[in-house]
Point group: C2
Chain length 237, copies 2
DNA sequence: ACCAGCCTCGCTATTTTGGGGGAGGGTAGA
DNA sequence: TCTACCCTCCCCCAAAATAGCGAGGCTGGT
């Protein structure tokens, strides 16, 4: 079993483009003998890409209908931390139920598990396994393979990150301690007067920090600067 | 080996407070025969807590000196995705090197590996293993145990999430599509006029969205609202 | 069928930010 | 050493955001 996992990880590691990941998902599907494996990834500039075994028809349909905006799997995972079984999601709306029926018609399994992972710059990835089976069979499958799947999901993420860094990487400008403190207070909702009082400096000085931070971050205004500082993991609210 | 991992995970699962996690870190340390295991967590409202085997002296010192703001492990992991060996971090500044020497003096290992994980609402967790050893021994240890450690780290996260939800959980307010779009444009640095033009609505209407978002997010001003929307994963820049 | 919530538009006055200048002392890295 | 960057303080004025009112049409869920 250990060796199998090793081989599966390697099939991901050996990918050198999105096509390679695609191939890896097919290998995984065959290995586990289930219906689908899908890896979906949003990079730090909001571009999406995916690799997986869903039929092209379904992918086209999904894009055409902009299902991304209402897919309970996506919406649910954006709010979660842990791997989530599709059954735990909110399918209560009419649109969601219709979407699910349509998905099953297009060959997506009636059972699914999605593992969400987040990166430091707004990256968001979803590793999904899906199959057609009853609740008990599915629960057994998950119980057996959850950990391996998490490891494999992680390999996918590593690969996706490599691809992104292969592109243009932002060098992440360093802010001075006072600048960071200032940005943190602003991110907490203070205005300049409050933040200055908190930092025990004049409002003028505070302004200097904010402007310095703005310039370093290439931001157009304070809100933008705070947003960038947050996205880049420079500060935490 | 498998059974050992199972037992370790259970020791985490059985924790029903932070003290329980503390106990679990001690068990892990003894199991692996290394110097330290530390789990550090920032929840969605910015409160931090930790469980681990560092000496109280070091923890006190760390807090007193506000090392959180300059600790290269924290700063580095805030920018990363994958588990990171401490050797890969940026120790070039004098302050960082002094910090490292001091840490070693306080019993922290000279080798370390930290696994960062992010949640949907700005939660950020760090699972760290540390020991005193040479590069080769450490590399071997990591190579052998990385995957198990990732699984264990995940158990910690699951537990931390439970604790948070047990307390007062922010119900994650849902923003309407237009509100989200508005917040996204603001996060990109547009002012109200530009965002309104982009959305093809009047500036007044845009203002309504911003205020609605502000109220839903409990934010004091626009910058705060954008910061919260970002930290909670509602928008991506 | 109804209600909640979304989307759209309007006004005025006050508060907060942003842009443009400077200036001097302190400290860490090359 | 010495240079670059950090920290701190000051002025004036234009531009932008916020607070407080309000109103009507449309859609989705119960």
């Amino acid at each position: 079993m250990e060796e199998k996992l090793e081989a599966l990880c390697e099939s991901v590691q050996n990918a050198d483009d999105v096509g390679g990941l695609q191939h890896a998902t097919e290998g995984l599907r065959d290995h586990y003998g289930i219906a689908h494996i899908v890896y979906h990834w949003v990079n730090s500039v909001g571009e999406r890409f995916g690799a997986g075994t869903y039929s092209q028809d379904w992918v086209d349909r999904y894009v055409e209908k902009d299902y991304l905006r209402m897919d309970p799997v996506i919406l649910g995972c954006l709010q979660r931390f842990n791997p989530v079984d599709w059954k735990e999601l909110d399918w209560s709306s009419r649109a969601a139920r219709a979407f699910f029926r349509e998905a099953v018609d297009f060959g997506v399994g009636n059972q699914g598990l999605s593992i969400p992972i987040r990166g430091p710059s707004g990256q968001f990835a979803l590793f999904t396994v899906s199959d057609n089976s009853d609740d008990f069979t599915w629960a057994t499958f998950i119980d057996r393979n959850m950990r391996d799947l998490m490891i494999v999901a992680h390999e996918f993420n590593k690969k996706a990150l490599e691809f992104e860094q292969g592109g243009d990487s932002a060098p992440a400008p360093a802010l001075s301690p006072r600048e960071l403190t200032a940005m943190t207070y602003l991110a907490k909702g203070m205005n300049r007067a409050q933040a200055a009082k908190e930092m025990e400096i004049s409002e003028h000085t505070l302004r200097v920090y904010i402007e310095a931070a703005r310039h370093k971050l290439g931001a157009l205004n304070t809100t933008h600067a705070v947003a960038r500082a947050l996205s880049r993991g420079l500060i935490v609210v």
